[in-house]
Symmetry: C2
Subunit: 500 residues, 2 copies
């Protein structure tokens, strides 16, 4: 039905030729889970085992200064799909100061109806929208992706943690659209001992099939490929196990690299690569708490997932669009996952919503004309503004790795790294005299600038203005990720009757 | 005279055509000073400011697992030119255990006459040999490069430290062949405040002129371009100052990158690129003691210069030889600066000396046929074998960063990095139970393998055998780098009368 209704739109698009075609280019977002800046050969991973991704970068544009909006899955994904900071869309908690939060089973919240998601908006331009993989924007029925603009879904509402006892705590389910297909560890196997699982192959096939279907029906599409093989527990298919010199984590990366190559070749073979904008990135930095067997690399950067140091928030990023992006481009644009919202709307010929604050910017002038747009990057942890980057300067208003209590239990967000006064295990406030780093000279955030220096004074004067402006206009959303009681774990209520 | 005598050789070479031409290919070794593995865009430096070197890598072969033979200048260079470990050629000290040593003014030693240097051997195949830049193999007259096989020299015997008082301690001189041209800070300016110096431009012009002269005379040549702009005090020419987002160190790298591009283009424009083998690498890891303003990056690796962790010894490395090396190759061959000795001899159609132990191997099968040769890497600090790598395993027999005494004075070889039991400030012996790392899964040397694991047992059994064999056959040379008294600072005796 939807397909028939959209046909006239597609016809117009087909008749208008290549120039206008760009106005409704297909959009493929390849979003990795916990993959770090340093995990790709093109970004200096010393085993250099990602030939397809490196080739994608060589044929497209490499972003060296691209960021997530939160160092944790749920808020990062909510920001990507709304173009808004988690503090605005409610993807934070007030359970603790500067506490990261996501949507495990005992969280009742999710993406509010008042938020406008990218697929909802793309529908207006005739797009068919599919999410493959992890949703993570709420597991109650009202948060289902098909209620928020997606037309199709193959994947799970939450992380593939488990196995659970399936009595007090159910295993995480997988869905096709509204139907629950089964559960991780029961119907969809992940062997925690060997790391074997064929999930990435399932997600790949879903992507190839969807692209084929859309090409055949000549409908523009948005594919959100949010796979999770690099999130602990890390997994790979049998044919990739043991193929990496990096161990199981590397096997997962190799399978993803192979899959990305297959998706790009499929677009080329179907003749739609020049009308399909593809963007590859990750939702947060590598989870060093899980390294080395279950976690990746943040290259030369400090700390990892959960922190607002560069290792937690700077992401690998590649834009690919043959015939539009010249090969071998490199950009220093400060980018954000939230820009994928605004850029996608621009690709669809749509305007972003004007009734609310959108934090993402349209990157097409950067990607197509090599422009550099001046804009800050805000580093949040929960609803606390921890740091701000403008140009090459980054000011920390709060520093924290993790608590001494957690640290004592062997949980370390910065293993092997320790910068006095920076990787603090107590929450340290620096709002009156922020720690300032020059990320060009000091990408590893090891050498704070002297407070007395002229350089410090000038940079902080500029950044203080940005922060003041940001805070003055900020209207926080209702916090969605506060912890509730165990009774809310009926997270798989939709579709459950059909399977259990 | 030499030129006339060599002409018949050149004629033979010219008549034999391309296949035989490879037997006396020109050799250009571009040796950087204190440049780290992570300093090139192709190796993941996040500012990605080395377009010429990245292009060189894209046109040639990138080595990801290439090592120096010592984490300090003098022994590294002695090893490169002799193909032998410093413990064999005497480039170590017995003044202290595991103490690195080089050739400052108060060192009386240097390269022994008994050592056969690469240029001495290349002479037999008709090569004209030139060293541009830092020699560092001794400053007494008997150690002069023109007494050890080089035909020409433009550069200095030692590091460009200073300025000194020039009474008790003279400033370091620069030479053209036997003639002292002047001294750093007096005749060859380095502005310590601004970092300005035109030395890299002088070294570039010398290289271009030498290449032109050799091309015109149709004589095969060996050019050893051992520049030092990235060694503290770091410097760059006026037109490069302030051009890098990495600060002064980055300015120096940019000037070097630009110079390498000019040298490669010069070879192409003269039509001799297909008969010139070019190799780019560095003498030791980035000097993190001088970071961020005066030191580079070792990417994701642990510590830096002076240490036998990966950051101290793994080097950026690129082989370039159009028409022979296919574009875009990547090699995981465990390589060493000592291999440049054996590979260069092979390029000249010569055999390595058979009367002594040579540690370097001929990399031509790796470079031209993509072979992988199984060989260990020995990590020495002074005359102590600190660690051994075989395959992806690295065993530490001793760990040490630097002493508590030095550390207390603010000298830190591993700033911001601290791995318990690994980056020790006391010399820790592990010879009975070495610390073992898997460098594929753990390139940052943060997670020692469990001593009880089967993996540990198997890997150590193999490595122990290699170490036993190595130690059983080792004949240490006479130590050349012991500290003497101030009276030996007559290091610029040759040529001095002509200038002072
Ligand atoms: Ca994640
Ligand atoms: Ca050096």
């Amino acid at each position: 039905m939807a397909s028939a209704a959209l046909r006239p739109l597609c016809l117009c698009w087909a008749l208008l030729g290549p120039a206008a075609a760009a106005a409704t280019a297909n959009i493929v977002l390849l979003l990795m889970d916990d993959m770090g800046w340093g995990d790709l050969g093109a970004f200096g991973e010393p085993s250099k085992e990602t030939p397809n991704l490196d080739q994608m970068a060589a044929e497209g544009m490499l972003f060296l200064d691209f960021y997530t909006a939160s160092p944790l899955c749920s808020p990062s994904r909510a920001a990507l799909l709304t173009g808004r900071l988690p503090v605005r869309n409610g993807f934070y908690t007030t359970n603790g100061h500067a506490r990261n939060a996501y949507t495990p089973q005992d969280i009742v919240g999710g993406i509010p109806d008042s938020e406008l998601l990218l697929p909802e908006l793309l529908k207006k331009a005739g797009y068919t929208n599919k999410i493959i993989g992890k949703w993570h924007l709420g597991h109650q029925p009202q948060f289902h992706p098909l209620r928020h603009g997606f037309d199709e879904w193959f994947g799970s509402p939450n992380c593939h943690f488990g196995p659970y006892d399936n009595r007090e705590r159910p295993n995480i389910p997988l869905y096709r659209d509204w139907e629950m297909l089964g559960r991780y560890y029961e119907d969809f196997k992940i062997d925690l001992k060997t790391g074997e699982s064929n999930l990435t192959q399932l997600y790949l096939q879903e992507a190839l099939d969807f692209i084929s279907k859309q090409q055949a029906s000549q409908q523009p599409f948005f594919l959100y490929w949010a796979i999770d093989a690099t999130h602990a527990p890390v997994y790979a298919s049998k044919q990739f196990l043991g193929t990496s010199q990096r161990g199981l984590y590397g096997d997962a990366v190799r399978e993803i690299d192979d899959s990305v190559g297959k998706i790009l070749r499929h677009l080329q073979q179907l003749g739609i690569s020049e009308n399909t904008f593809v963007f590859f990135t990750s939702d947060n930095g590598a989870a060093l708490i899980s390294a080395p067997k279950q976690g990746g690399s943040n290259g030369p950067f400090l700390c990892g997932k959960q922190t607002t140091f560069e290792g937690g928030m700077r992401e690998p990023a590649i834009a690919w669009w043959p015939g539009h992006i010249p090969a071998g481009q490199v950009s220093h644009q400060l980018g954000s996952v939230m820009d994928l919202f605004s850029t996608s709307l621009s690709l669809a010929g749509l305007q972003p919503p004007s009734d609310r604050q959108i934090d993402g910017i349209d990157l097409l002038p950067v990607i197509l004309q090599g422009q550099l747009i001046d804009r800050p990057i805000f580093y949040y942890r929960g609803n606390e503004l921890m740091a701000v980057r403008s140009g090459l300067y980054k000011a920390h208003y709060w520093t924290w790795s993790n608590s001494w209590e957690e640290h004592g239990k062997g949980i370390d967000f910065c293993p092997g790294q320790s910068v006095a006064g920076v990787t603090t295990h107590t929450q340290e406030e620096h709002t009156y005299l922020p720690l300032l780093f020059h990320l060009g000279r000091d990408p590893g955030e090891k050498y704070p600038l002297s407070f007395a220096s002229e350089e410090y004074q000038q940079a902080m004067e500029h950044i203080s203005g940005l922060v003041q402006q940001h805070k003055d206009t900020l209207v926080p959303g209702q916090p969605q990720l506060n912890v509730c009681d165990q009774a809310v774990m009926v997270f798989d209520v939709f579709g459950r009757e059909e399977k259990d």
